[in-house]
Structure formats: structure tokens, C-alpha cells
Point group: C2
């Protein structure tokens, strides 16, 4: 174990520094606005030095894109057996939303979210990943969970896919609002409990009894 493994305090390589600076700049100015000039200045090197680590600007973005959708929400589904924990009904939804809320208020994840929105209308690959991530990953798994709940007789019978979308959409909407408010340093206290309220509102309406 030498310094190159960067176990603890990690001395960052120039390549890592470039990626960090690029990530920061792209999340505020977007891909076009984050120029190689700005990135180099942020790192403290010349533009030409960038090209010793990346073939071109696009390669930098591609590297950052790899982590764009690997957020803690995925981990949520990985952490526990879906079909088993779904049986917990409302408690399952509470846990899911708590995880989503944590991600929404996390600074690093907020920057990823900003990049997604910034590039959504410009980059078809981002669109592809966006639809895949929010659909395949979240909606599909949520609909499975709702299906389990129906089978268990905890909630009313309905279209699980529709239910999943109806459940997820407000989460996305609230997250977007939080991000926008925070960008202009506006208070988000109105939204601090909205996630919990959402679960209550939703549950009241799908639960049996």
C-alpha cells in the first residue's frame, strides 16, 4: 500500500483533480459553459496539460456521465430484498421516501441532478439514461412493490404501474423545487416535511380500511 492507492486522506492525481473541477463547473454552467479553460484554471494548470489526461473535452464529460445515475436510490433497492420488504406496506414507502429525501438534500447529489436537468434537452444520451433510470429502475421496482402489497391485501387493487408513477412523480417534482429554491438561497422549510406528507396522502388513498 503506497501513496498511489490513496487509502485515507488521498493525494489526488491531476486526472482526479480535473474530473472534480469539471464536475463542479458542469453542474453550474453545463457542458458548453464549462470550458477547458475554466477547468484548467480551477485545477491550476494550463489547458494543454488537460490533454495529457483526456483525449478531448468530451472524454471528460463521458467519465462524469458514468456516475450520473448511480445514486443512493439505486442502493436502496440493492440493500434489501424488494419482495420481502414490500410486505411492510406503508413502512416500506416511508423508507423509500426517506432515502429519496436524503438524496434530494445531499449537496453532491444535487449537483448530479443539476447536470441531468442542464443536459436533458441537449444530450440524447442523458435523456436515454434519464428515462431508463427513472423508469426501469424506480418505477418498475416500485410497481413490483405495489403489486406485492396488493397480493398481501394491504392496498386496493389497481394498475401497479400507474400507481408507481403516481407515487413517484410528486417526489421528482418536489426534488426539482427544492433544487431551484436552494439555487437562489430561498427557504425550503415549506418543503421539508412534504415528502412525509406525500406518503401519508398517498397511503390514505390506497390503503384498505
Amino acid at each position: 500500500m503506497n501513496s498511489t492507492t490513496n487509502t485515507n486522506k488521498k493525494i489526488k492525481s491531476t486526472k482526479e483533480k480535473i474530473l472534480d473541477a469539471a464536475f463542479e463547473l458542469i453542474s453550474t454552467y453545463g457542458y458548453k459553459g464549462a470550458s477547458v479553460r475554466k477547468i484548467a484554471r480551477a485545477v491550476g494548470i494550463r489547458e494543454s496539460a488537460i490533454y495529457n489526461h483526456f483525449k478531448n473535452k468530451d472524454e471528460i464529460f463521458k467519465e462524469i456521465m458514468k456516475n450520473l445515475f448511480s445514486s443512493p436510490i439505486d442502493d436502496f433497492f440493492d440493500r434489501k430484498p424488494l419482495l420481502e420488504s414490500a410486505k411492510k406496506g406503508r413502512r416500506f414507502l416511508n423508507e423509500y421516501v426517506a432515502s429519496f429525501k436524503l438524496v434530494s438534500f445531499d449537496v453532491k447529489n444535487e449537483k448530479f441532478f443539476k447536470i441531468i436537468i442542464l443536459e436533458l434537452m441537449q444530450n440524447s444520451e442523458v435523456r436515454e439514461l434519464f428515462l431508463k433510470y427513472f423508469y426501469q429502475e424506480n418505477i418498475k421496482k416500485l410497481s413490483q412493490a405495489f403489486f406485492v402489497m396488493m397480493q398481501e391485501g394491504i392496498i386496493k387493487y389497481s394498475d401497479p404501474m400507474l400507481m408507481a408513477q403516481e407515487f413517484f412523480a410528486p417526489l421528482f417534482y418536489y426534488r426539482l423545487q427544492i433544487t431551484l429554491l436552494r439555487m437562489d438561497s430561498k427557504p425550503t422549510n415549506i418543503l421539508s416535511t412534504i415528502f412525509e406528507k406525500h406518503v401519508s396522502f398517498f397511503w390514505e388513498n390506497i390503503a384498505i380500511i
Copy 2:
């Protein structure tokens, strides 16, 4: 009434042509990407000629911004007395959503929507208008409508503001998805009836009986 009033087929002035071209370009490339060069080329004039009609590039964007949020959804609330039509309950929601759906699939409005998303993370004024429009205009009026329904005993008692947000959020989410799918010429048939399904799902859960 002479040719300058442009009553019927309207011979467009250069200024109008510039605005049209700029609108088109901004909706695909964003503000930064829609260069004065590109706009001039699209109109068929030189860049310098642009400056006879607008002080600078920013003035062009400001002019377009004026119409950014004056969409037909506003008209919906203007057209009919809110407190009276809200008493119709589900029929009111159906009409509101039908209006929203029309806007979502309208090509011109889709371009406005794209500009909003493109500039949301870059332009604080767009953010301001976005929050104002979607909050003050839509959510506030919807919550008034829900309050009326509660008073009338058509729906269960609850927080009208929360209800309005929960009702509106999926509409926004579905609209975004439709826009993204259409950008890559992907089928939207899965979403063609989602707006109606949303009303059904929501209504079932708030209605008394």
C-alpha cells in the same frame, strides 16, 4: 388598416423574423447555443443587421421570455369563474387536465417548455417565473378549487394546498416525459391516456363515497 397591421396572411417584419428564428434556435440549443450568427443566417441577413432591431442578444431573449409563461393553461382559469366551475368536481378536473394535455402535445408550447427546462439551471429569472407560474398560478388556483369541493362536500377534507400539489406534480412529470420521448421520436402511446388515468386515480382517492 394597411400592411403594417398584418391582419391576415401577415407579411412579417424583419424584427418578427428575428424573433421567430431566435425562438426556434433557443428552443433547440438554449440561449448560449443560439448565437447571433445562427439567428442571422436563419433569417437571411447579416449579423450586424440584427443590431438595428435589438440592442444586443440579451434583448432578443428578453422579448421571447415575455411569452414564456403565458400559455393556454392560464387561459383556462381566465375563461371560467373558478369558484363556480370547481363545484362540478371531477368534471372540473377533467376539463383542467384536458387543457393541460392539449398544451403538452402542442408543438409551439413544447418549444416554450424546452426553453424553460434548458434555462432553468442557468437563468434565475426563468427560475423565478417558473416557480411563480407553477406555484402561484396553478397550484394556488387548484387549491382554491379543491377547497370549494371540500365545502361542497364532494371530496374529503384535507390540506387543499397539498392536494393541489399532489394533483399537479404528475401532470408536470408526464409532460416532461412526453417531451423527452418526442425529442428522440420515440412512441408516446403509453402516455396518451395517462392524463385521464391520473384524474381517475386521483378522484377515486379523494371523492366521498
